[in-house]
């Protein structure tokens, strides 16, 4: 018999991993080399990457196609505002509080939407987000339908402008890296094993004692918690919140789904490629207005037809490597 070795990674993936690590350090050091405008752009990229990683965890690994994740982005924004205005908290310290609250709120929501399957689940999550938006618009204490702004004094407490921007940047960087690492380590854990098994064969995994409902609930709550934290930070940078901006299905769900689908659903690298491509397109095409959105839509359809596994899937099938090895490969 031919000799064969089994590894999690390949030579190419190790090199790619080292390059990725260098790139990560470079991005992490952005406050020292990027100007104010670039730093804001990179912060936004990090937000989208984190949101995309969470949606990918839900849809790509747990099979929960939610089109209502903007519920948690908006919830995070409003929780942050409430912490700051009513409890006098530091905006950045309110982020973990928002995360815990988001997780708690997501449990009854899951209880509700988990009764629905497939497309009904998707619509259900959207309806929940809409209910969140309407509820926020009804609460006059947080500005009702017109929203409100963070008092200048609160932001001044975070330090001078460059310090403040650096602080916010590092928080965004930590959240984004944390979100990707969460997915990575989750997939390599017992839960990841169960998730993969469920994706491979739901019937066989349930007959081995994998509690499918409980695992999916866990993933949903984890994704909700992280999405809420990202939402809280997004609105620290925006300084102003209104129901329509906070619960915008376009900004926080449609673009995120676009990113994951073109990048490659069900892979950790997919959202990274997708986010980069999305921002590249936006930088060049955003001036076109509505036509820009039509181009995005056409691209999404084109990629779905030509490469259903996304751009990352295309790369892997051609060059066979991965930066985040969670599977096995045979080498002869």
């Amino acid at each position: 018999m031919q000799h064969a070795t089994i590894t999690r990674s390949t030579q190419a993936s190790r090199i790619a991993g080292i390059l990725a690590l260098c790139f990560l350090v470079y991005i992490g050091a952005a406050p020292w080399w990027a100007g104010s405008a670039d730093l804001r752009l990179i912060t936004e990229i990090l937000f989208y990457l984190a949101l995309a990683s969470m949606w990918n965890l839900l849809a790509g690994y747990a099979g929960l196609i939610s089109v209502g994740q903007h519920a948690y982005v908006g919830l995070g924004g409003y929780l942050m505002f409430s912490c700051v205005l009513f409890l006098g908290m530091n905006p950045l310290w309110s982020i973990p509080v928002a995360g815990v609250a988001g997780a708690l709120i997501s449990i009854p929501v899951a209880w509700l939407v988990f009764r629905l399957k497939g497309p009904y689940f998707a619509i259900g999550t959207w309806v929940v987000a809409e209910v969140f938006r309407l509820s926020a618009a009804q609460m006059s204490s947080v500005g009702g339908g017109s929203g409100l702004s963070i008092p200048v004094a609160v932001m001044r407490d975070l330090g001078r402008k460059p310090d403040r921007e650096m602080l916010i940047y590092f928080t965004a960087f930590a959240l984004c890296v944390g979100a990707i690492l969460l997915v990575y380590f989750l997939l390599r854990s017992r839960v990841g094993l169960a998730l993969t098994a469920i994706r491979d064969n739901e019937v066989a995994s349930s007959s081995l004692g994998v509690k499918i409902g409980r695992i999916k609930l866990f993933v949903y709550v984890a994704a909700a918690a992280v999405t809420t934290m990202i939402g809280a930070l997004i609105f620290v940078t925006k300084l102003r919140i209104s129901p329509d901006a906070a619960f915008s299905v376009n900004d926080w769900t449609v673009f995120v789904i676009f990113i994951v689908v073109i990048g490659g659903i069900g892979t950790i690298e997919g959202p990274i490629i997708g986010t980069l491509l999305f921002f590249l397109l936006r930088e060049f095409l955003a001036d076109l207005g509505a036509i820009y959105l039509m181009i995005l839509g056409a691209m999404a359809i084109g990629i779905m037809l030509a490469a259903p596994k996304g751009l990352w899937g295309l790369l892997v099938s051609r060059y066979d490597f991965s930066i985040f090895p969670v599977g096995y490969r045979v080498r002869r």
Partner: protein, 234 residues
């Protein structure tokens, strides 16, 4: 005196309006090997699915160790001690051999079966432990499926179509390992197309025909013709 571990009484199962099982009753004792034979569509797999909780019977009772399994999820039933080697193996293709086996032990029931013990019985699986499970040969995949079921330390093992799609020499190997596998006092129900082999290895048998039991008893108490008549309904 040995006591019965599984009691099925007057089981009726429907798929929509079509009735798949018409009032079946059977019992199996601790440590016993029961063969379930019958042609395609006789209801064997439906009976297995009902025992595992994957299909809800319309009426009748299934008692395992004196407790009813009605309304319990497949996961809960596995925790109680029933494991199935499904027809067609149904391995997890994204996972390695060892990960497949570890998933079998997901419920963490204590008992004699550990990863090491499975590797002792199937040494080839240890050699191949890091291979993607579905890259193995059919027979080796069947060993993974058996090992995976054993990892939950079941008290009742359901083997569905053990030899489906395997070469005769591989089937022989697997059956030679059977006593080693069942030596731990597990009760086993075996569904097998090869009636002669099923009769050889089992203590009792049940022959199903169109959702009913057409013949049952000691495996060595009936002639080939009697079984053949029950099998084909002639």
């Amino acid at each position: 005196m040995s006591e019965s571990i599984l009691e099925v009484q007057n089981l009726e199962v429907f798929y929509g309006n079509a009735q798949a099982i018409h009032g079946i009753s059977l019992t199996i004792e601790q440590g016993e090997l029961l063969s379930l034979i019958g042609s395609n569509g006789a209801g064997k797999s439906t009976l297995f699915k009902s025992i595992c909780g994957m299909v809800r019977p319309r009426s009748g009772t299934i008692n395992f160790k004196g407790q009813t399994t009605a309304g319990l999820s497949p996961a809960r039933i596995t925790e109680m001690g029933i494991a199935m080697v499904p027809e067609g193996r149904r391995l997890f293709r994204s996972l390695s051999v060892e990960e497949n086996l570890i998933l079998g032990g997901y419920v963490r029931r204590p008992g004699p079966w550990t990863l090491q013990k499975v590797y002792d019985v199937f040494p080839i699986l240890k050699e191949r432990k890091d291979y993607p499970a579905t890259s193995l040969s059919g027979g080796q995949q069947q060993m993974v499926a058996i090992g995976r079921a054993l990892m939950s330390n079941p008290e009742l093992l359901l083997l569905d179509e053990l030899s489906l799609g395997l070469a005769p020499v591989v089937i022989k190997d697997i059956y030679e390992l059977l006593p080693k596998i069942l030596g731990e006092g597990m009760a086993t129900i075996l569904v097998e197309q090869d009636v002669t082999r099923a009769m050889q290895v089992s203590d009792h048998f049940v022959c199903m025909l169109e959702g009913r039991i057409s013949l049952s008893g000691q495996s060595d108490a009936f002639s080939h013709d009697e079984i053949s008549a029950a099998y084909f309904g002639t």
